[in-house]
Structure formats: C-alpha cells, structure tokens
C-alpha cells in the first residue's frame, strides 16, 4: 500500500540522516525533501518575505525618537550575530527572564519611544526573523545564571506536566515517542531550532509562542495569554534543551 511503503521510506530516511552523537535531531530532519528544499533556498523560502520586511524596519526611524534600530546597532549582520541563539535570557537588571520578542519591544518602548509591537504582528515577526537570520548556522547557547535556575526548572516542570483534557505532557510525545507517527506525520523532538518558522499549517510565519499555543490546544488545554511568563519559562527550557544545536532561522516546518 502506498502509505505504508512511503512511511517506511520516510522512517528509513530519517534514520539514515547524520545525528549528533547525543541523538538530538532538529525538526528539519523529520521533514520530507520538498519541505527541506523550501527551507534551504532563500529564493523559495516564504519566510524571506518577512526577513526583507525586517531589514526595512531595522533601518526605519520609529516613534518619538525617530531612531532606527540601525542608529544604535549599526549593521545587523555584525551586531546581531549570535544574539537570537542566546535568547531567552535572564535580564539581571530587570530580574526577569525575557525572550527575543520582549527584548525587541523593550528597545521599541524604551529606546525608540515607539509603541510596543503586538504579539504575532507582521512587524514583530519580521524583526524577529531578520534578527534571527543573523544567527543562522550558529549553535544555540543559553546561559543559566544561578538566579535563573528556578526559572529553568519551572520550564522543565511544565514540559513534564500533564495538562489538558487529553492529560498529556510534552515529554510523552516529544521525548518518548519522537520519531513515531501521529496523524501520519513523524513526531519531532520539539527543539525550537528555527523560530520564527514558516509553518505550512499556518501558511505564514509565526513565533514559538504561537506554536506552543497550538500544542496546548492540541492536548485540549486552555492556552495562556500571549506574553505569559509560563511561555517564556518553557521557551527557556526548550532552547536550553536544544543547546549546541544549530539555529536554522527562519525555518520551514509542516
């Protein structure tokens, strides 16, 4: 039967891919060749439409200050190199864990005197994609100072906690059952190696928070509001769990 043969081929292909010795694999490796090709070529990756928008926003003056990101940060290719690979990060001065989108908005409101960009807005996604692109190919590198340790633990606990009407914990699918099939598709290991991603299911670009909300809806749990600290803690744990893996931003995912 076509489906079974194709499924076996897909599993074989996944198994044949080079994996880091620790067995961690990016969602990229669980995708079919057509989707991978979409990500690999900037001329066919729809996420590049947002990256170009992000580049324009980087150079545009904003808010009461009239300042552009470029006015303080210069050429993003230099100043933003490695930045996205280090978020979420613990901001010691604010005593708060923040993700990249929150960091962008802190600059918008604090430095540019411009209104914050709304979650999942095209502008915020464009800047996040543009900044993330500058770290493409770099290893994820999450620092956990002692003050942030409890926040990492909170994220880990969330990953292991059963939730929703289906009473499932993230770890059940993404640790234990990764590589098995759900609704015909292989279950990935849930490493956020390419955010913001162009998700084929959304037919658009979206953040890790949006994807986490989809997970919560998937287990029939009520998702937290955008920007909830629970998301940032879980993102922190997920990025830390993926440390050393290469950032692929902006990735394409099914």
């Amino acid at each position: 039967m076509i489906p079974r043969a194709a499924a076996l081929l897909l599993l074989a292909a996944v198994a044949a891919c080079a994996a880091p010795p620790d067995g961690r694999r990016s969602g990229y490796e669980f995708m079919g060749p057509g989707t991978r090709a979409m990500q690999d070529d900037d001329a066919t990756n729809p996420a590049m439409l947002w990256v170009l928008d992000g580049e324009a926003l980087w150079r545009a003056g904003a808010g009461d200050s009239g300042r552009a990101c470029a006015d303080c940060h210069g050429d993003a290719a230099a100043s933003m190199k490695g930045v996205a690979a280090r978020f979420p990060a613990y901001d010691a001065s604010r005593k708060k864990l923040i993700d990249l989108d929150q960091r962008i908005n802190l600059c918008r409101t604090g430095r540019q005197q411009a209104p914050a960009l709304a979650p999942e807005s095209r502008e915020l996604l464009a800047l996040s994609a543009y900044i993330g692109r500058q770290s493409r190919g770099m290893p994820i590198d999450i620092a956990v100072p002692s003050e942030a340790q409890p926040l990492l633990e909170a994220g880990r606990a969330a990953f292991r906690r059963r939730q929703g009407q289906l009473n499932l914990a993230c770890t059940q699918c993404h640790d234990r059952l990764a590589g098995e099939k759900l609704a015909g598709n292989p279950i990935p290991q849930a490493h956020p190696t390419g955010y913001p991603i162009y998700r084929l299911e959304w037919q658009g670009l979206g953040s890790l928070q949006r994807r986490l909300r989809n997970c919560m809806i998937g287990v029939r749990a009520e998702p937290y509001a955008y920007g909830a600290p629970e998301y940032v803690e879980l993102e922190y744990y997920l990025m830390w769990r993926a440390r050393g893996m290469k950032l692929e931003t902006p990735a394409v995912r099914p």
């Binding site: 001329a43 066919t44 729809p46 439409l49 947002w50 170009l52 928008d53 324009a56 037919q203 658009g204």
Partner: protein
Amino acid sequence: MARAIVKVPARARRGEIIELRAIVAHVMETGFRRTETGALVPRDIIRRMVCSYNGVEVFRADFHPAVAANPLIVFTTLAAESGRIEFRWTGDNGFDAAESAPIAVE
C-alpha cells in the same frame, strides 16, 4: 513591506536556458474557509502572473484557489538579450504587484 522576491541570473550567454523564480506575499484566501461562527471568509486570491522580458510576455500563469499562500513559481526562459525581466501579479480586490530584475546577456 516586501511584496515579492524574484531571482533572475545577473548575466547569461545568448540562447542559454535560464531559470527564473518568483515568490509573492499573498494569503490566497480560498473562499472555502469559515470563521468560528460559520461565516464564509470571502475569496481573495491572485488570479494571474505575467512574466515579461523587455516588455514581451514570455510566460503566464492563471492561479486558482488551490495555489498555496505566498505563491512560488519557478520556470525557464531563453536569455535573448540584455534588459529587464519583469513579473507582475494581479488579482482580487485590485491586487497589483510587480517586481523586476536586470539581466546582462552576451
């Protein structure tokens, strides 16, 4: 806001078959989706893409709702002469976007 990205080789030999790629930002709303309360989301798609080489049409595509969001099209043309290769997309609600790139043909 970036409307489209096109990829045209900067230079080519006369008569060479060159590959052209174009991707345009558009939701391609099919007209079959419904909101949470059951209301139909109206169709809003790109209907046509025309590729012109120094003003002469060399390729045309008619899109239907089955074309995916942010439509990509990859095709070929003969490198005939130096000049500009232009892509133009038109569609529902007055959608009209264009992008072009130069080509040097020796």
